[in-house]
């Protein structure tokens, strides 16, 4: 549905992640190309959130290589140079969390401007119109001066998306963006995400259980099972010609 440029924005090679004795990721290799929307699904504990968190180094991979927007980083090594590299990776990879942690002491527009002003050192006069435009894009232009506490969950999550977009990332990482929302608010967040794919051709990696959305928007689906990608393919391949019984079982349970 969207034009995909075959340049890899995210490249993951041999990614392992261990928490204590628990091996959560057991060797992940994947590439996400420019303009591609990849939906990652699977049972909880299968490692899908950990993958996203490893990509922007909120978790340091135990082993493996992560490349985001041409910045290549090894997991498991700690040195001062790496900290700066990690910050650069994070500037290129916008993250949207499950529980929409907006900064409560800032208004909506201040939340959106925070990244450009503080991290990119953009002057406020320049950041404000950009932030206003992004709030407009997520349908919240009228809430610019409100504090997060006055917003609904769906509105908060849309502000969080605008905040991540303000950094002009090369890829957006969505970690279960609708799981903490009341059912009637899920669609407003999904609509914004869909618009990102169709209007902006944003490269996205989305961990979600919204399979209807996945079928409609994703170019590729990855089924995570016990720390590996068990099955992957286009929505048609995965939904209609499911290869593995584990995938079938999961899909039957959520659909």
């Amino acid at each position: 549905m969207t034009a995909i440029d075959w340049k890899a924005v995210v490249k993951v090679e041999g990614l392992h992640k261990t928490f204590g004795d628990l091996e959560v990721l057991k060797g992940i290799d994947m590439e996400v190309h420019k303009g591609e929307v990849v939906v990652i699904f699977g049972r909880s504990g299968s490692g899908k959130s950990t993958l996203l968190r490893c990509i922007n180094f909120l978790e340091d991979p135990t082993a493996g290589t992560i490349e985001v927007a041409g910045i290549r980083l090894q997991g498991g090594h700690r040195h001062r140079h790496k900290r700066e590299q990690v910050r650069r990776v994070r500037m290129h990879a916008g993250m949207v969390f499950q529980d929409f942690p907006l900064f409560p002491h800032m208004t909506t527009i201040q939340n959106v401007m925070e990244g450009p002003i503080t991290v990119k050192k953009m002057p406020e006069e320049q950041a404000r119109p950009i932030a206003r435009g992004l709030l407009d894009r997520v349908g919240l232009a009228d809430k610019a001066e409100e504090y997060p506490i006055r917003l609904s969950g769906g509105q908060k999550q849309r502000v969080a998306i605008a905040r991540a977009l303000a950094m002009e990332p090369d890829v957006m990482l969505f970690d279960e963006p609708t799981s903490a929302l009341d059912p009637e608010l899920i669609h407003e967040v999904l609509a914004v995400m869909k618009a990102l794919a169709t209007d902006m051709h944003m490269t996205m990696m989305i961990v979600t259980h919204e399979m209807g959305f996945a079928r409609e928007v994703a170019n590729r689906l990855c089924f995570f099972h016990e720390g590996v990608i068990l099955e992957e393919g286009t929505p048609v391949e995965v939904f209609d010609n499911t290869k593995f019984p584990e995938t079938r079982k999961f899909l039957d349970a959520v659909l």
Partner: protein, 314 residues
């Protein structure tokens, strides 16, 4: 979805409890408390009369003693300022993964919380000049530099008070910083913020909401502890309330009267600052309380409810 839980009258709704003894009596609880206080003051009056308090002397000397109030207030304000700076550094050290920062701040809080304030005041006042003259004797520093090791009593007092209160307030600051959840830290990290940016822009502004009320308490405690500074020598210009009371009392053999006047002044001072503090507290919490008229059963209200409950507990 689980059934919606109606949360009635959430955080912030505090009505003074109906006192059980009010039932069936004519006097309200409040009136009774006022009567008790009046009774206590009447008893004190009788005590003063029995002790043959020289009220005329107290009146005459009051002005001399209260002149010292600015010294007390200045020492307290300057010291609390430096204590806040030390507490901020100390708490960041306690939360640091850097062994030097962690170790130094650990030693600092342990020592200054583990020794009496009065000992610390004398240490700063007496030890530094000795170190200075010793260094001079060994020819390591000149006499000009050595002179800086001799501190005035007030300066030594301010340094000791700042260090002592900074050590205690390190814990307050640490708790305040920890009260800002890891989700906030991660959100800041995910934007690509550095440690400094994250602290300055995201963590500390939220931590201060938790830090300010107990810091007010520390300030009020410090007003009283400034009296200890008068135990080291000082010039008349820097005589605080307590020093003036001691001097005047000794001079006229009216020590008890002088002390009662002093106690009254300290009490009034702390009462005034407590009033300020109460106002400040309501002001600080304002931005986080949803205004009346906002629907309370909004999506995510349960989460908000939990959040405010967490805030109440801290």
């Amino acid at each position: 979805m689980a059934a919606h839980i109606e949360i009635q009258g959430g955080a912030g709704e505090t009505r003074p409890p109906e006192h059980p003894l009010d039932a069936g009596t004519r006097l309200s609880f409040r009136t009774k408390v006022v009567l008790v206080w009046t009774g206590i003051f009447a008893l004190l009056g009788i005590f003063f009369w029995l002790a043959k308090f020289d009220i005329a002397w107290m009146n005459r000397t009051f002005k001399f003693i209260i002149t010292g109030v600015w010294v007390t207030v200045v020492i307290a304000i300057v010291s609390i300022f430096f204590a806040v700076v030390l507490a901020l550094l100390g708490s960041l050290g306690r939360l640091s993964k850097n062994a030097v920062a962690y170790g130094v701040s650990g030693f600092y809080t342990s020592f200054y919380r583990g020794t009496p304030l009065i000992v610390q005041i004398f240490l700063v006042y007496l030890a530094l000049p000795q170190i200075g003259s010793s260094l001079q004797d060994r020819g390591l520093i000149g006499s000009t530099l050595a002179r800086y090791f001799v501190l005035s009593a007030v300066l030594a007092g301010i340094i000791a008070l700042s260090l002592n209160y900074g050590a205690y307030m390190t814990e307050i600051f640490r708790a305040g910083i920890l009260s800002v959840g890891p989700d906030q830290t991660e959100a800041a990290d995910a934007l690509g913020m550095s440690y400094k940016q994250r602290m300055r822009r995201v963590v500390l502004p939220q931590a201060f909401k938790v830090i300010i009320p107990p810091t007010g308490n520390e300030f009020i405690a410090m007003i009283k502890d400034t009296a200890l500074v008068s135990l080291i020598a000082s010039s008349i210009f820097w005589y605080d309330i307590f020093k003036r009371a001691t001097v005047a009392g000794n001079h006229d053999f009216k020590n008890l009267e002088a002390l009662v006047v002093t106690a009254g002044i300290y009490w009034a001072l702390t009462a005034i600052f407590t009033l300020f503090q109460t106002k400040l507290e309501t002001r600080v919490s304002k931005g986080y309380v949803r205004q009346a008229g906002t629907p309370s059963r909004k999506p995510g209200a349960k989460r908000l409810e939990e959040q405010s409950r967490r805030e109440d507990e801290t």
